[in-house]
């Protein structure tokens, strides 16, 4: 076993993953070698020195500063949880309003188709007019049906928005 091998084992230490017999041979070499012996001792001192390094005195106000920052974090969290129901209610009401609008439009379409009130529907645009004049069955697969579906979807989302946001409050 050469000095290069032994010095390599000294630097790798137990992490090298060699069998104990390999280390034993290296340490026997180090006991009598003027180069490897001091190197092994120095390696031991280094590891011991690093392991025993005392804690460094932190800034005197560190803990106070951290706790003040944590207080601000909690305040922000509380403000967020207070705002959440208001946002959820607004979303729900927006959904209701949209759904009512869609229902009204569909009702108007159905009424005009049933009564032949094409003039009323024509005022609302080409989509509605074509339905009325062609005599198609409401809601069929036309934009009005999609409008109704979107409206109902918004309404449902609006209703559940407060629950979803409330359940994801921090901590």
């Amino acid at each position: 076993m050469t000095c290069a091998h032994v010095l390599g084992l000294i630097d790798a230490g137990p992490l090298a993953g060699y069998p104990p017999s390999h280390f034993a041979a290296a340490w026997r070499h180090a006991e009598t070698c003027p180069e490897c012996g001091p190197a092994m001792a120095m390696a031991g001192e280094i590891v011991q020195g690093v392991s025993d390094w005392p804690d460094v005195a932190p800034p005197i106000d560190l803990a106070a500063v951290v706790m003040a920052r944590l207080a601000r974090v909690d305040e922000a969290r509380e403000a967020e949880t207070v705002e959440t129901p208001a946002r959820g209610r607004a979303a729900a009401w927006a959904g209701v309003a949209t759904a009512l609008g869609g229902l009204t439009a569909c009702a108007a379409l159905a009424w005009s188709a049933a009564t032949g009130g094409a003039s009323l529907v024509r005022l609302a645009g080409p989509g509605l007019g074509s339905v009325a004049t062609s005599g198609a069955t409401w809601p069929a697969t036309l934009p009005e049906g999609a409008l109704l579906a979107v409206s109902l979807g918004l309404y449902v989302v609006g209703l559940f928005a407060p629950v979803a946001e409330g359940s994801s409050s921090p901590r």
Binding site: L7, G13, A41, G44, E45, V50, V66, V73, R171
Partner: protein, 189 residues
């Protein structure tokens, strides 16, 4: 995690913010030392230490109570230190041995030594502070903070093999720099 840490963490999770102050006071010196070794600037170390505690508090839900608290906290500090070094142009690459080659200015290398009264310890720490960032961090986490190689690898985002290489190089470099002056050979730890 020690029982004391576990009790505190459970208290904090129940909404007792002040309980977190126990953890801050218990680990601030250790964490500040780690941050100082990594960023080598007192102001930067203070910033990293503060941010690490705040991040730990806000992310406490992600902490696994079956594991020790300090290594988790130290991992946060290591990541924040790396961000800090990146932000201030002291690039620490997180892949492969590039971590080992990262060059940094050593203008604050004496900071650690100055904090230690013992001359021999101060010399050692001046040399430790002069190590490349990856070697320095791996050395501190493994030997000083007694973290297994696997945990150090997780904290630094590299493989266990890379950590072993970093530790090998750190030990060799320190040994060569400090010289063979010991009187009595000791068994290698």
């Amino acid at each position: 995690m020690s029982d004391a840490d576990g009790d505190v963490v459970r208290d904090v999770r129940r909404g007792n913010r002040e309980a977190f102050g126990h953890l801050v006071r218990r680990y601030q010196g250790r964490l500040f030392g780690l941050a100082l070794v990594m960023v080598r600037e007192r102001g930067g170390a203070e910033e990293v230490t503060q941010d690490a505690f705040v991040r730990a508090y806000t992310c406490l839900a992600q902490y696994d109570e079956t594991r020790p608290f300090y290594p988790w906290l130290a991992t946060i500090a290591v990541r924040l230190s790396q961000n800090w070094l990146r932000r201030y142009g002291r690039q620490v690459r997180r892949e492969g041995t590039a971590l080992d080659d990262a060059q940094e200015p050593s203008d604050t290398a004496s900071t650690l030594g100055a904090l230690l009264a013992d001359e021999r310890g101060a010399r050692l720490w001046q040399e430790v502070a002069a190590l490349p960032s990856g070697q320095r961090t791996a050395l501190i986490l493994h030997y000083r903070d007694a973290q297994p190689v696997a945990d150090v690898a997780r904290a630094l985002g590299v493989t266990a093999g890379t950590i072993k290489t970093l530790l090998f190089r750190a030990r060799r470099r320190l040994r060569e720099r400090l010289g063979a002056t010991a009187d009595d050979p000791r068994e290698l730890p």
